[in-house]
Structures are given as structure tokens and as C-alpha cells.
């Protein structure tokens, strides 16, 4: 055990840091893009406050198209786009763009369904009090949906961690890459087992944390 830690400790720690970096950075960008998209879906859908079939159909279709492409293919498919945005297609920097492209529409969808659960009545009550739509979105819809939003984001984070495993193909490293490169390609299964156990623990912690926060925010 001590030998194993001596030999692989550093590599695993480095992989863990890379995975965390990739996940957190792309999560932040995905929320930044996904939340407004989700809100746009809510507002422009039929009978929404800004009912607009054209905008809704465009956004809705775009999200479906991107979500249809498996991440591993998306990664290569959008290489030119990645280069244009990030200036490189390799390393952690190079993988953030495809991760965000994959994750933002997913988050938009999750937040859309979370926000759809908020009753129309409460929105109407706030309209009847002369409150503006932007304030209603933030202080009523997002507030009331916050518990479901956290649960949705938890799902998204876990999905992201899975996708970072494919980041190895563009040299971004991370835990998944470690397990693949050493555990599979170089026949060292104990590295793979160690990584798997670490991933299981991480996912467990994130899910419990998400559930806990969601429960706390629900307050009823």
C-alpha cells in the first residue's frame, strides 16, 4: 500500500486536481450559458411571458441537436471552433470549450424542467402586484425552483466528471485519463481500481451534498 502510494500518489493527486479544474471551470461557464438559455425557454414557450414560437423553436432545436452528439464525437467535431475560442485544442484549456458546449444545453434543459415545476399561479400573483418580469424570474421562479435546480446541477456535475475522462484524448489529463493510460494501456489494473474507487467516493460525496443542500433549500 505504502509503495503504491509512493509510486502513484503524485500522479493520482495531479489527476484529481486536473479533473476538479476541468469540472469546476466548465461547470461555471455552463451555468453562465445554460441558465439564461433555460430562462429563455421558459419565457418563450407557449403561454410564457414572452411567448415566441420562433425563438423557442430555434433554441429548443439547437439544444436537441447538441445533446444528440455523443461527447467523444463532439470533442473532435468542434475542434476548429475550440481553436477559435480557446486558441488551442489541447490541454485543460482545450477541453473546456467542448465540455461547456456539451454541458450548457444539458443544464439549460435541467433548469427548464426545474422551473416548469413552479406554479403559474404564483407568477401570476406577482404579476398582479406590478412586479417586473426580470424580478419575477429571479425572486419567484428561480427562488421557488432552487431546490430542483440544485438537484439538476448535481446531475450535471456528475455527468461532467464522466466527460472529463475523455479529455485524455486531447491531452488534458485528469483521473479518467490516468486510469485509461496506465490501467488499461499499460496493464496496471491497480491504478485503474484506485481511480475507480476515488471517482465513486467523489460522486457519492457530490450527490449527498446536492441532496442535502436541496433539502435545506426546500424548507417545507
Amino acid at each position: 500500500m505504502a509503495d503504491f502510494v509512493n509510486q502513484w500518489g503524485n500522479a493520482i493527486w495531479e489527476g484529481f486536481i486536473q479533473t476538479t479544474q476541468m469540472t469546476l471551470i466548465s461547470l461555471a461557464f455552463s451555468i453562465l450559458i445554460g441558465l439564461p438559455l433555460g430562462v429563455l425557454l421558459i419565457l418563450t414557450r407557449k403561454n410564457g411571458q414572452w411567448d415566441n414560437i420562433v425563438v423557442y423553436t430555434i433554441v429548443n432545436t439547437l439544444i436537441n441537436v447538441i445533446r444528440s452528439i455523443p461527447f467523444i464525437i463532439l470533442l473532435f467535431f468542434i475542434l476548429p471552433f475550440t481553436r477559435a475560442i480557446a486558441g488551442t485544442t489541447i490541454g485543460v484549456r482545450g477541453v473546456i470549450v467542448p465540455l461547456v458546449v456539451a454541458c450548457a444545453p444539458y443544464i439549460a434543459r435541467l433548469l427548464e424542467s426545474a422551473m416548469l415545476e413552479v406554479s403559474k399561479g404564483i407568477v401570476e400573483a406577482y404579476q398582479s402586484m406590478g412586479i417586473s418580469t426580470p424580478k419575477i424570474i429571479w425572486h419567484v421562479i428561480i427562488r421557488e425552483a432552487r431546490s430542483s435546480i440544485i438537484l439538476g446541477l448535481t446531475i450535471a456535475i456528475i455527468g461532467l466528471i464522466g466527460e472529463t475522462a475523455m479529455a485524455g484524448f486531447v491531452g488534458a489529463g485528469g483521473l479518467g485519463d490516468l486510469a485509461y493510460q496506465f490501467g488499461y494501456v499499460r496493464f496496471q489494473p491497480d491504478v485503474m481500481y484506485a481511480v475507480i474507487i476515488i471517482l465513486i467516493v467523489i460522486v457519492q460525496i457530490i450527490q449527498s451534498l446536492g441532496n442535502g443542500i436541496a433539502r435545506k433549500l426546500k424548507k417545507n
Binding site: 406554479s119 406590478g130 425572486h139 417545507n220
Partner: protein
């Protein structure tokens, strides 16, 4: 206060057009409680939502305090809506906020100064009697308590009008009574004009000054509650009222009674109910009146007595007796076979 003129609203559902409101005109005076009654689907909900433009009328005009609501800018409409409180059948409270915040949050979003928010929230929670529950969440409250929070929330804007969209329809009879009492208090003590819609006659009876009866998107009858109650003209109105105070007598009995005399339905209002009319009939006109059925309806500030009376005796004497009744400030309706 509120004036609706020739308001119509048509919804499009696919290729079908649904006329929810057809040329509705009515006027609500300052300080009164005005009720609209009708079965579900009559268009009441659309009507009340046309006042604060949660629903935009297809045609017609809406005035609130002489402001043409349909001509207001977005900002103007928001300003106006703050003067019009609204409560709903479903309460529509924030589930994630406690009672205090449910009342305070809208004020915060409107930019009311901090200490005023506190003062108003506490004042109106006191008025609705929920001061001791201010830290509770809606899921911990009963339906009646939730509606009180909603009322406090509406009042905290210090509105001039309160719109009530079936506010008591989901409540049991006792709670309904308590909420109606509260609405009366709001109207009397705070001077807030109340416009309510309901399908419950009891609500109209208990607290309304005037009433409009709706059917198929039209107002078929309107007037003071006493008037509409005692002299309903339209079939729809009669149908509503008949559930309460019309006496249903078995056909056979009715037939027998009509053979031996006349049947009259007498409606007594206020003062007229105190004179001993039936005794007078017997004494002066030499006929034999007997009471078949009777009851009293309590309206907001007046009670209405109803009697079904059989008058037996010589034909012409019975006729004069009935004529006498007509002259007595009593509403007389002869029951035909």
C-alpha cells in the same frame, strides 16, 4: 371606481374561438363589495382578470379610478397594479418563504423603504391575525391561514381595490365564514373596495352590497343583493337562488291546496316582517291563511323572510286579501299549478 364598458374577450384554441366574455358592462362604486356569481365556465375568472389586465380584453374599455387601463404604458400598468390587490383560490404563496417574507418580499421588490416594509408587514399580519405564525412556512399552515397570508400580502400594498378570485372556494364552511368576516372588516375598517367572483351564493348573501349574475360570458342580471335576491328576473338567477330559499312542495299536495284556495309566496323585507299580516288577513278579510313553509335568509345588512301561505276562503274574499298583501310592502307571488 371600476368601470367595464362593452368588454369582450375571445380565446383562440386551435381553430376554435371561445367567447369567454360577450359585451360585459358593469360599474363598481368606491367602498362597496361587488360580487359576480356564476357557474364555472361562465366567464367570471376572465372578467376579474380583465380588470388588472392579467387578461387583455379583445374589445371594450376598462377604467380604474378614471384611468383607461388599456391605454397605460408598461410602467403605468405596474403602478396601477400596485393599487389593486388580488387574492386567489390557490393562495399562490412562495413555498420557500415564511409567512413574514411572503408579505414582505413583494414590498422589497417594489423598493419600499426597509423600515416601512417591517412596519407594514407587521401591521397587516396583525390585522389578519397571524402575528404569532410569522415564522411558519406555508406547508405548515391550514388553507384558511394561507388565505390570510395572501390577504395580508395584498393589503400590504395598501391598495384601493381588492380583487378576490374565488378566494373561499377551496375552504370548508367555517373557514369560509372567517375569511368572509375578514373581507368585511377590510372593507369597513380600511375602506377598501372589494370586487369578488364566486360560485357560492352564500358569499354573495353574506358580504356583498351589489351583485351581477353571469352566464355564458354575459351579465344577465345585476343590482343590489336584496333586489336580485327577492325579485330575481332571469332564469339563471332563479336557479341560483332556488337552491336556497324556494320551497319545493310535492305535486299532489300542491294540487290539493290549489283546489281549496290559493297559494302565495310572500317575501318580507326589513320592517314589513314585523307586522302581523296573516292575523290581519284572517280578521279583516274573513279568510283562513295557513303557513305551509317558511324561512329566513340573512343578507349583509338585512334579513329576508319567505313564507309559503295557503289562503282558504270565498273566492272574491281571497282575491281582496291578496290585493291587501300587495299593498303591504310585501313581495307577493302567486303559485300556479
Amino acid at each position: 371606481m371600476i368601470k367595464l364598458q362593452h368588454v369582450s374577450k375571445t380565446f383562440r384554441v386551435g381553430k376554435n374561438k371561445i367567447e369567454a366574455l360577450k359585451d360585459v358592462s358593469l360599474e363598481v362604486n368606491k367602498g362597496e363589495i361587488f360580487g359576480v356569481i356564476g357557474f364555472s365556465g361562465a366567464g367570471k375568472s376572465t372578467l376579474i382578470r380583465c380588470i388588472n389586465l392579467l387578461e387583455r380584453p379583445t374589445s371594450g374599455q376598462v377604467f380604474v379610478e378614471d384611468q383607461d387601463v388599456l391605454k397605460l404604458s408598461k410602467k403605468g400598468l405596474q403602478q396601477l397594479r400596485r393599487k389593486i390587490g388580488m387574492i386567489f383560490q390557490g393562495y399562490n404563496l412562495l413555498e420557500t418563504a415564511n409567512v413574514y417574507d411572503n408579505v414582505a418580499t413583494p414590498l422589497k421588490l417594489e423598493g419600499v423603504p426597509k423600515d416601512e416594509i417591517k412596519a407594514r408587514t407587521e401591521k397587516y399580519l396583525e390585522i389578519v391575525g397571524l402575528t404569532d405564525r410569522k415564522n411558519a412556512f406555508p406547508s405548515q399552515l391550514s388553507g384558511g391561514q394561507k388565505q390570510r397570508v395572501a390577504i395580508a400580502r395584498a393589503l400590504a400594498h395598501e391598495p384601493e381595490v381588492l380583487l378576490s378570485d374565488e378566494a373561499t372556494s377551496a375552504l370548508d364552511p367555517n373557514t369560509t365564514d372567517a375569511i368572509l368576516e375578514l373581507l368585511l372588516k377590510v372593507n369597513k375598517e380600511l375602506g377598501i373596495t372589494v370586487f369578488l367572483i364566486t360560485h357560492e351564493l352564500n358569499v354573495i348573501q353574506r358580504i356583498c352590497d351589489r351583485v351581477a349574475v353571469m352566464e355564458n360570458g354575459q351579465v344577465v342580471e345585476q343590482g343590489s343583493v336584496v333586489e336580485v335576491f327577492t325579485q330575481p328576473k332571469e332564469a339563471m338567477t332563479k336557479q341560483f337562488i332556488s337552491n336556497e330559499s324556494k320551497f319545493l312542495i310535492p305535486e299532489r299536495l300542491k294540487h290539493e291546496l290549489l283546489e281549496s284556495g290559493k297559494l302565495v309566496k310572500l317575501t318580507f323585507l326589513g320592517e314589513s316582517s314585523k307586522d302581523p299580516v296573516l292575523a290581519t288577513l284572517a280578521k279583516q278579510f274573513d279568510v283562513l291563511p295557513s303557513i305551509i313553509a317558511g324561512g329566513i335568509d340573512q343578507l349583509k345588512d338585512q334579513s329576508v323572510g319567505n313564507l309559503l301561505v295557503h289562503i282558504k276562503g270565498d273566492r272574491t274574499k281571497v282575491e281582496t286579501a291578496i290585493q291587501f298583501l300587495h299593498d303591504q310592502d310585501i313581495l307577493v307571488e302567486e303559485v300556479q299549478s
